[in-house]
């Protein structure tokens, strides 16, 4: 059997789009009469995809004809996902209380982890009650079934605060109470413990109904104990609550107001950290300079104007252009900053390790394909040398306006 010989020129001429000066070819047009059509594995695969799931799933039993039109999911994904149902525990068998730090009326990630630990202790029958000083947002999605907003203590008076929490806990009578092992949370936990005369199991790294585990003797041994009334939970040890949002029903608890203690604290003022002298590992906002920048004087002015802590990449530190203690990365400092502002840094893997803990990254670099541009929340492909003076001008204009 002989096949007719193909004529590529004629085929090409047949798909040429007419009426244009520049030749254009419509390659999507099905060739006619040249045997069986070509398979398109990608289209077939796309046709097997199960719609309305974020993670791709494929139904391999379904064979889609290659020339059949691919079924596209018409409904948008937001419409497909119904709003999550709020879980309600009507009559919990027991309560697990959580006293979060909640700085500024917002749960920190450590607080969420403590709520996750409390959820694990409560299981299916129990309920999680959260005791916050003042208002707090987002306690239901974080896993709280009940919510006791206590009155705020004016000024810095940890003893009165502990007395208030202890009184509320006595009235609530939970089975377990969990605190975060942070500066404030650990302090409050110990004050409440000595006030209630109960032992406190500090710095628990494992929280489960069958036992709490903490490191002891310089992390040589670990101590396991059946959960008692009070415990504090170590940071980054327990996962946050990941289930559907909970009810966070306000729970009125009548606790008698503790008698105010003697006024022994005369005053308390907050002294914010000086960004110029704070160690890089503790800094909140780091502006960092890399090999893409030669004008370091302007960089220093930008750092001062933004009130950031200066950092640098390894190249500049090796060259002696920036001090060694400013080096960011695996062989320098691993940051715990909220925001990282990278100027002229392409983002070597060792550098990105130092930035891994930063929540927000702003990058200015000339290379569109740099790893730092990919990592950044706001990426600007532009020469950092011209962006820095523009930043300084803008900041100076704003300062001039506000005066």
């Amino acid at each position: 059997m002989t096949r007719p010989r193909r004529d590529p020129r004629a085929e090409r001429a047949s798909i040429q789009v007419a009426g244009e000066a520049r030749p254009r070819f419509d390659r999507t047009a099905r060739r006619t009469g040249s045997g069986r059509p070509r398979r398109d594995p990608r289209t077939e695969r796309a046709g097997q995809r199960v719609a309305a799931e974020a993670r791709p799933r494929y139904d391999l039993s379904q064979t889609v004809r290659f020339d059949a039109p691919v079924a596209t999911d018409a409904q948008p994904k937001t419409a497909a996902a119904p709003p999550p149902k709020i879980l309600i525990v009507e009559a919990p068998a027991f309560l697990v209380a959580v006293v979060p730090d909640a700085p500024g009326g917002r749960l920190s990630s450590h607080d969420r982890q403590v709520l996750g630990a409390a959820r694990a202790l409560a299981g299916r029958e129990g309920g999680v009650a959260i005791l916050t000083l003042g208002a707090c947002e987002g306690v239901g999605p974080a896993g709280a079934d009940r919510w006791l907003p206590l009155d705020v203590v004016e000024g810095y008076d940890p003893a009165t605060q502990a007395a208030r929490v202890a009184a509320a806990l006595t009235a609530l009578a939970p089975r377990y109470v969990l605190f975060p092992e942070s500066l404030d949370g650990g302090d409050l936990a110990r004050r409440v413990a000595v006030r209630m005369g109960e032992p406190v199991f500090t710095n628990a790294e494992v929280v489960a109904a069958n036992g709490l585990v903490r490191p002891a003797r310089g992390r040589r041994v670990e101590q396991r104990i059946a959960p008692g009334l009070l415990a504090t939970v170590a940071p980054d040890a327990v996962a946050e609550y990941g289930g559907p949002p909970r009810e966070a029903r306000p729970l009125p608890v009548e606790a008698e107001a503790p008698t105010p203690s003697l006024k022994r604290i005369v005053s308390a003022t907050r002294v914010p950290a000086d960004p110029a002298t704070v160690p890089l590992a503790l800094a909140e906002f780091v502006a960092s300079v890399g090999n893409g920048i030669t004008d370091l004087d302007t960089f220093r002015q930008v750092v001062a104007a933004l009130r950031a802590t200066p950092g640098a990449s390894r190249v500049l530190c090796d060259a002696g252009l920036m001090p060694r203690h400013t080096q960011v990365g695996a062989s320098g400092t691993v940051l715990a900053a909220t925001c990282y502002f990278a100027l002229g840094i392409s983002g070597a893997p060792q550098h990105l390790q130092g930035v891994a803990g930063c929540e927000h990254v702003v990058a200015v670099n000339t290379d569109l394909h740099a790893a730092m541009i990919e990592r950044a929340g706001l990426a600007i492909v532009q020469d950092a040398q011209v962006v820095m003076p523009a930043l300084l001008r803008l900041l100076a204009d704003e300062a001039g306006e506000s005066v």
Binding site: P215, G218, I265, F341, E374, V381
Partner: protein, 260 residues
């Protein structure tokens, strides 16, 4: 001003050798600049705290308390007799349970004001000013009246250098202890060799692939997925965008608000 520094028998976290915990050495440095300092230790053996004599103390009082007994009643009785203006302690012990409850129990027993996590103390006479660490280099400056118990944070100034001659000249006095009854039976604690637990990866989806966990660990899964990309913008526009972004996440102050 009369200052007492509470000393504990620490163990080095790596070698297990007896060592004075660093925070107590820092407490000695804070106290040495303020006035007359006395070290106070309750425990079976005074040799454990002899190192403190070389780090700035001249005199240590040792209350013999049998091993395993609660030192708080003995310490509270001695502190009540001494009536110091300032008591300094480390925020945690080192080498024991490391729970850090002893200062709180003492403050409760003596009805003292307790200020935790102090990095510096200044003043004298009637009021004392204590700088309290809030983490990330921020401080709270607290002015207090009357006797106060403060625990020392590791961010305090580094301890004084060890001096062998001073360590030889210093004295350790043994003071009589009131007989303390043993506590009730402790809760059953099971001890095992420490096992490191896997580090929690923030933002990693449960049941996700290894590549997704790696992305979460290097931070590429977080803000990068919804990041904004501006290619070759005008420098002025880039500057405006950067400032707007920084203000939105709250790391720099708003332009409309006047500066203090």
């Amino acid at each position: 001003m009369k200052i007492v520094v509470l000393l504990s028998a620490g163990r080095h976290p790596v070698s297990g050798a007896p060592v004075l915990p660093r925070m107590e050495a820092q407490a000695i440095r804070i106290a040495a600049s303020l006035g007359e300092v006395l070290g106070l230790h309750a425990g079976p053996d005074a040799d454990a705290v002899r190192e403190a004599l070389g780090l700035g103390l001249t005199r240590i009082e040792h209350i013999a308390v049998a091993k395993g007994l609660d030192p708080v009643p003995a310490l509270a009785a001695r502190l009540a007799a001494l009536a110091p203006d300032l008591v300094l302690a480390g925020r945690r012990g080192q080498g024991g349970a490391e729970s850090g409850v002893v200062p709180y129990a003492l403050a409760e027993a003596l009805d003292l004001l307790l200020i935790p996590d102090v990095v510096a103390v200044s003043g004298g006479g009637d009021t004392l000013t204590l700088d309290q660490s809030l983490g990330r280099g921020a401080l709270r400056r607290v002015a207090v009246r009357g006797p106060v118990l403060a625990t020392v944070h590791p961010d305090a100034a580094a301890p004084l250098a060890y001096a062998y001659g001073k360590a030889r000249r210093g004295t350790i006095e043994r003071v009589g202890a009131a007989a303390t009854a043993a506590d009730g039976p402790e809760a059953a604690v099971e001890e095992r060799p420490y096992r490191r637990r896997p580090k929690l990866v923030k933002g990693a989806p449960t049941g996700g692939s290894a590549a997704e966990r790696l992305k979460a660990a290097t931070g590429e899964g977080g803000s990068a997925t919804k990041g904004r990309l501006l290619v070759e913008p005008d420098p002025e526009e880039a500057a405006r965008e950067i400032l707007a972004y920084l203000r939105q996440i709250g790391v720099i102050a708003d332009a409309s608000k006047p500066k203090q």
